[in-house]
């Protein structure tokens, strides 16, 4: 897990590099809640580009962070959510509550198709 903080715009970006299950979700939760509160950020972005696995523990983890950020008056966004993760987020209704921005991912896929 890599966190990037843009001081000027107060944006915290979290790039998840591990598989998300109950075990790793606990660790991400602990670390992230701390950072969200320290930085008092305006916007938190979860980047799923590098994710290879997520089960339903990810749903609770994402929703929990969303609630915290909202409570602190910030914005929350998920980016680069692949087809499989989207299915899980759709099933649980997360995509109806949280903004999912897949522009980057779509551009990447189009490039791949052209390459083929």
């Amino acid at each position: 897990m890599i966190t990037k903080y843009d001081k000027e715009n107060k944006i915290l970006t979290l790039i998840i590099t591990e598989e998300i299950d109950q075990h790793t979700a606990d660790n991400i939760r602990r670390k992230l809640d701390n950072e969200i509160e320290i930085y008092n950020c305006k916007k938190v972005i979860f980047d799923f580009t590098n994710i290879t696995f997520m089960d339903s523990s990810g749903i609770g983890m994402v929703l929990g962070r969303y609630k915290l950020v909202k409570m602190l008056g910030g914005e929350f966004e998920l980016i680069n959510v692949n087809r499989r993760l989207k299915k899980i987020f759709d099933m649980s209704g997360v995509s109806r509550i949280i903004k999912i921005n897949n522009e980057g991912l779509i551009a990447k896929e189009e490039n791949n198709e052209e390459a083929i």
Binding site: Q22, H23, F53, D55, S57, I59, I88, M91, G93
Partner: protein
């Protein structure tokens, strides 16, 4: 015709969340002999992760215990059982409802069984209060179109004949 094999594996590990990755990867490795697609393998891994998490978080309530996994292959179908001797589920029907969770404080989403049901072909839950829970899941692995068992045998036979003739 070539005889299609039956195969079986059994796995036992401590009820610790750090074993979840091990469990799903081990099952995926076993299933890979059926030549599943990446999607099929991900479906199975996700379902295993859900069931194992349930055993650890709910069955043993994060206490000591052993989770067992038994996987069997019949023809092109894999059947996986996740077994614990934990506290059992009081109301299976209720537990399987989407978004129902008995542990909202742990940020559990209540989607575990729903995900198992949508990613696997069949999910059955047997549970007895105070004795434990057994989740039985089945998934058929789609045979690859370009592989025809009979043709494959013919090719082999042809090769055998060629070799015999050549020798």
């Amino acid at each position: 015709m070539k005889k299609l094999y039956d195969n079986e594996m059994k796995l036992e590990f401590s009820s610790k969340t750090c074993n979840e990755a091990f469990a799903r990867i081990a099952v995926a490795a076993f299933v890979s002999q059926l030549d599943p697609t990446i999607d099929e393998l991900s479906d199975i891994k996700t379902a295993i992760s859900e069931a194992v998490t349930n055993s650890i978080i709910h069955g043993y309530e994060e206490g000591e215990g052993t989770v067992k996994i038994e996987a069997r292959i019949y023809l092109d179908t894999v059947q996986i059982e996740i077994i614990d001797n934990g506290k059992g589920i009081e109301n299976v029907e209720m537990a399987m409802k989407p978004l129902y969770t008995s542990k909202p404080d742990l940020e559990r989403s209540g989607m575990g069984f729903t995900i198992m049901e949508s990613f696997m072909d069949e999910v059955k839950v047997e549970s007895a209060l105070g004795f434990g829970t057994r989740v039985i899941m089945k998934k058929k692995i789609t045979p690859k179109e370009d592989i025809d068992e009979d043709n494959l045998l013919d090719e082999k036979q042809k090769e055998d004949i060629k070799n015999t003739l050549g020798a």
